[in-house]
């Protein structure tokens, strides 16, 4: 047993030894149960238990808890210890509470008084104990009880430095739970000026606090920029002896440096003050220079600390994205790291270079390292490093190196780790499509993908290759020939059969002239795979066969034989049975004219962004480089709050990248100018329950989820009809979703994609001309009064006055929520088509709930806030209303999630109820909102209650959401 310092607890040490000596899990549990019984009886019976004994038993309980057992008593004894006049007892009491607290909320009320006493103590050690406890618990109650005391401690002149440090971080912790705790006004400048404090420890702690405050209110804390730059400047120019104990392995104050560099990443480079900007650049240069100096120590701690600062400086350089010279230097530095001995450095260098690759200034410089990166992908021993290399190759890819990079990735894919294959497949598919100049190359790449890693090729990938082949005449013959060859392999992946089946069904005629791929050979080749395939692929092949009857009447008999087979005509699978029998009848009854019309070649798909990209983004939210060189700088100030980003991506999972891709016009699209894009919601979401498919259109579907509208041409028409029925311009639909078709008639289709972050929103409106004539005098105008615009400020980019036949254009709209508002802005789109003027009014999906940030919280804090907000009638709004559609809890859930709040599951005692929490971001303020929706299935009624700190907001939210059910 090792010696114990301070006043050891012998009983505890003996107990721990006993546990360690237990030979089996059972013995250990037995010993623990014995101890628990002992402690329980001591706590119950013996009234004369002294402080030491209480401390000892509480400590034992703590140990048992840390072994992974549940502890359901002893809390009161721990609370008693808090008020002990012996420090060691008090300290153990606090430790127990910190470790076990979030399980017992009643406890918190009991300890607040003890904490208050210690906070007021003259002994800084007691004060710090109290602060540590507040920070460990960090609950709403703590914020309420100590919200005024801690800021005072922080800035007061008589507070000791050690207490200030704890106070700063304690305040930060409370600020994270309740944002309103920080007083504004004169406090702002006092807090900012902590950056000038003499004591490095105080500055280090304060910088973390300021960083969080800046994220919430960048304008107010702007003054911190110049102070932070000065402080940083003093550190980077300091010699390592200057800062004494704050020098870590010869690196001056690495923690503070990193925090300051991080703080500065909340702002764009200080433009209005060239002096500050100059000094900052000097600092960054100095850091880059130091990286070239020989190390002052061989210890890894020295290199880690030094490089930590360097990487953070490079992050800032990338964030500022304004100094070409610095960006290129950063890139060279990272290039050196790529071949460093330390795996950690190689990993970080690859990661950081990914960001550099997206800057126009350094993109070329990054490309110089292509060889090394390819080697990393192939040779690194650690899969996480290889993964980073793949990410970087993806980010640095452009037209000039695409063929090489794609080829290397394909080669690597043959041996790549299973864990990263799926993502690599997506990346290869995206790059091949994006940079294809010759579509035969694209087809080769995708077929190779299927060959090498067929299991990892998702539906999106093979759908996409088909869309592209169908849209490009020049590649169809080549595609048919290549899939035909690929299908000849003895073992070929089912995905290859799918692609092969689809393409030969459409374009098999283009290679039928060659005896080696005559109609019968094609048919037999495909059918030789039939029995090995899943029902879904078989269904697809049956469609191919009926198409063959149209393309090659000479093999009609053989095809009909297949339809007639028992295994098809009487298949256990209803879909196969139905297809076989209907196709058979169609081939018997229909004249060749009818066949030719029904089985006509598929019309071109509208050009649109690859759906694969959306899948990749969903897989790795926030980690997929935009792959487009940034063209516009982010507005001042930038919010880097990563958690928000993740939330955003997950709540509107539809890709947001679409906004940055330039609009393309649809080539010879005829009358198919429907943005298939927006069908996504209907296909992939819940099967649209209101458009119960009529028998006639069901026939042609394998599964509404799969875009296999191979069957016949008129499927497209049915879909379009369904969309029209469904969409009939209901703007209330867009309260709970961000993307889709806003409006459609025979002339025009207007789609929208939108993304929101904090109080800012960006909408892309897509106008598609469905006619064969140009729309002249095309003017969308915003309908939003001046007085409304003060609350929700909207800017609309102008568009060209002519919308060509079949073309699609995009219009960007930026919105900022300044204050709460109730109305919804709309636009009037006026244009002239065939000399007839038209005017369409549509509401924009810019309701106030779009500015929600979902907030996680546990049941305890939810109901505490709920109660709090319910005290006055002004803050809540309630509606009880009858369900307009049959109650479907799954659909209701989708709507609620789409509404933008965090759905808190498992909190409400009634599992059918929904409770949610969120914060509405406005420039002027943030409004926290709670919501509860109680469906009553028997009565077919809903009760919806919204509580927030602002009545107008509660009422508006309640109105908006009630309309959805």
């Amino acid at each position: 047993m090792p010696a114990v310092r301070g006043d050891g607890m012998r009983g505890l040490a003996v107990f721990i030894s006993d546990i360690r000596n237990c030979k089996s899990k059972e013995a250990e549990i037995k010993r623990i149960n014995k101890e628990l019984a002992n402690i329980r009886s001591k706590f119950k019976g013996d009234k004369t238990l002294d402080g030491y004994q209480k401390k000892k038993y509480v400590c034992k309980l703590l140990f048992i808890f840390l072994l992974g057992h549940d502890i359901d008593f002893g809390h009161m004894e721990a609370v008693n210890l808090l008020s002990s006049n012996k420090y060691s007892e008090k300290q153990i009491g606090y430790l127990f509470i910190s470790v076990l607290v979030n399980t017992n909320s009643e406890l918190i009320k009991l300890i607040i008084q003890s904490i208050k006493n210690d906070l007021g103590s003259r002994n800084p050690i007691h004060v710090n104990l109290a602060l540590q406890c507040i920070a460990n618990i960090g609950s709403r109650e703590m914020a309420e009880a100590f919200g005024s005391e801690i800021p005072r401690l922080l800035v007061s002149g008589d507070t000791m430095d050690v207490v200030k440090q704890s106070a700063a971080l304690c305040l930060l912790r409370l600020f994270r739970t309740s944002q309103d705790i920080i007083p504004g006004g004169e406090w702002t400048s006092r807090i900012i000026h902590l950056l000038n404090d003499q004591h490095m420890g105080v500055v280090t702690a304060a910088t973390s606090l300021i960083d969080a405050l800046v994220k919430k209110n960048p304008e107010e804390y702007k003054g911190c920029v110049s102070l932070a730059v000065s402080r940083l400047s003093r550190i980077v120019t300091a010699s390592y002896t200057d800062l004494q104990d704050y020098t870590y392995y010869f690196v001056p104050a690495p923690w503070l440096s990193v925090k300051l560099l991080r703080l500065l990443q909340n702002y764009t480079p200080p433009a209005e003050d060239p002096g500050v900007r100059g000094r900052l650049n000097e600092c960054l240069e100095t850091i880059l220079n130091k990286a070239q100096e020989p190390p002052k120590s061989k210890k890894v701690q020295h290199s880690n600390a030094k490089n930590a600062v360097l990487f953070e400086a490079i992050s800032l350089i990338i964030h500022n994205d304004s100094e070409a010279n610095l960006l290129v230097r950063a890139c060279n530095q990272l290039g050196q790291f790529l071949s460093n001995r330390e795996t950690n450095l190689r990993y970080l260098a690859l990661e950081s270079m990914c960001h550099l690759a997206t800057s126009e200034f350094s993109h070329e410089a990054v490309k110089k390292h292509q060889e090394v990166v390819i080697l990393s992908m192939k040779m690194e021993k650690d899969v996480s490093v290889r993964q980073q290399a793949v990410d970087l190759l993806y980010a640095m890819c452009d037209k000039s190196n695409a063929e090489e990079i794609v080829q290397e990735m394909l080669n690597y894919l043959e041996t790549a780790d299973y864990s990263i294959r799926e993502e690599m497949v997506l990346k290869v598919a995206i790059l091949a499509e994006k940079y294809a100049t010759d579509y035969t190359w694209y087809v080769d790449v995708i077929l190779n993908l299927i060959r090498i890693a067929g299991d990892y090729v998702s539906e999106e990938v093979w759908y996409r290759v088909i869309q592209i082949v169908i849209n490009r005449d020049e590649v169809q013959g080549y595609a048919a020939k290549t899939v035909f060859e690929a299908l000849q392999a003895p073992a070929c992946h089912e995905n290859m059969v799918k692609v092969g089946g689809y393409i030969l069904g459409e374009f098999g005629n283009l290679i039928a002239g060659d005896q080696r791929s005559s109609p019968l050979v094609q048919f037999q080749l495909l059918h030789s795979k039939y029995h090995l395939c899943s029902p879904m692929t078989r269904a697809l092949l049956l469609s191919t066969y009926i198409k063959f009857i149209n393309l090659f009447p000479e093999i009609r008999t053989q095809v009909q034989e297949v339809f007639k087979q028992h295994s098809n005509l009487r298949s256990a699978d209803a879909e196969l049975q139905q297809r076989a029998s209907e196709y058979l009848q169609l081939s018997i009854i229909a004249s060749s004219d009818v066949l030719a019309t029904v089985l006509e070649e598929m019309p071109a798909f509208p050009e649109r962004e690859s759906s694969i990209l959306a899948v990749l983004k969903k897989k790795k939210p926030g980690r997929v480089p935009e792959n487009e060189i940034k063209d516009n700088k982010s507005p001042t100030p930038v919010n880097n709050n990563h958690a928000n980003e993740v939330n955003n991506t997950s709540s509107n999972s539809a890709d947001l990248l679409g906004l940055s891709t330039p609009p393309t016009s649809i080539p010879n699209s005829g009358n198919t100018g429907v943005l298939l894009d927006v069908f996504g919601d209907i296909y992939s979401g819940k099967p649209a329950n209101n458009s119960t498919s009529s028998a006639s259109n069901r026939n042609w579907f394998v599964d509404p989820k799969n875009r296999d509208n191979l069957g016949v041409n008129n499927t497209g028409e049915t879909i379009r009809k369904r969309i029209r029925e469904k969409n009939h311009y209901e703007d209330s639909l867009f309260v709970c979703k961000n993307n889709g078709v806003l409006f459609e008639n025979d002339l025009i289709q207007i789609g929208v994609k939108s993304e929101f972050r904090q109080n800012l929103g960006r909408l892309g409106l897509f106008y598609g001309n469905k006619t064969s004539a140009a729309l002249q005098n095309f003017f969308p105008t915003l309908q939003w009064s001046e007085e409304n615009n003060v609350k929700l400020s909207i800017q609309m980019k102008p568009v060209e006055p002519v919308l060509e036949a079949g073309a699609q254009i995009q219009q960007m709209i930026n919105a900022e929520c300044v204050d709460d508002y109730t109305d919804t802005p709309s636009i009037a789109v006026s244009f002239v088509c065939n000399k007839v003027p038209h005017k369409i009014n549509i509401k924009l999906p810019l309701t106030i709930n779009k500015f929600f940030e979902p907030t996680e919280m546990n049941g305890e804090s939810f109901f505490a806030r709920w109660k709090n907000l319910g005290n006055t009638n002004q803050q809540r709004s309630q509606k009880i209303f009858k369900a307009t559609a049959p109650m479907d809890l799954q659909a209701a859930k989708t709507k609620i999630v789409g509404f933008g709040m965090q759905l808190l599951e498992g909190i409400d005692p009634n599992p059918d109820n929904f409770v949610c929490a969120g914060i509405i971001h406005m420039r002027s303020q943030q409004v926290g909102c709670l919501l509860r929706l109680e469906p009553n299935k028997n009565a077919q009624m809903y009760r919806l209650t919204v509580r927030s700190s602002k009545e107008s907001v509660s009422v508006e939210l309640c109105d908006l959401l009630a309309d959805q059910f």
Binding site: G6, L66, N102, G138, K381, H642
Partner: protein, 157 residues
């Protein structure tokens, strides 16, 4: 911000856990199990960082103990390694060449030292001297109490 720190042995036994975010006990156990398995499966020369859910995991092994921290995307991995190192140095200084047993038997001290180094998931005091001073001051308070107690016991006070 650091979300949590775990100390566990090569055998996968958890020795210390510090959570800077509130999670239900069940989730904590699940996370702990998952991470211990993941990290123990990694080979010695591998990178000390890994992506896990939306967090970054930074870990390092010292003798028989693994130190593992979860940080957020914007946090600095290398410096987190050095937080671990600083903590090890502090433990080492305090216990005098620390070993796993010291942490098992004096887990409360390990917590107290960590609380001086970090607060609410952020670094509070990076100076080794200052942290040790704070811990020494705590111990002094205890020893005074102990002496006082002893004196009272023999009737001198």
């Amino acid at each position: 911000m650091m979300q949590f720190m775990l100390l566990f042995s090569r055998q996968g036994k958890l020795r210390l856990q510090k959570w800077y975010v509130a999670h239900p006990d069940k989730l904590k156990k699940k996370i702990t199990r998952e991470l211990i398995t993941t990290i123990l499966a990694r080979k010695p020369k591998m990178c000390s960082f890994l992506e896990w859910r939306d967090l970054k995991i930074v870990y390092k092994r010292y003798a028989s103990l693994y130190f593992c921290c979860a940080i957020e995307q914007c946090d600095n991995e290398l410096l987190t390694l050095e937080i671990i190192h600083r903590y090890v140095e502090l433990l080492d200084k305090y216990f005098g060449s620390v070993c796993e047993l010291d942490i098992i038997f004096n887990f409360e001290k390990a917590y107290f030292i960590l609380d001086e180094l970090m607060l609410g998931g952020e670094v509070q005091e990076t100076s080794k001297k200052n942290v040790l001073k704070a811990i020494a001051a705590q111990d002094l308070l205890q020893e005074d109490e102990a002496v006082e107690g002893a004196l009272r016991d023999i009737g001198l006070l």
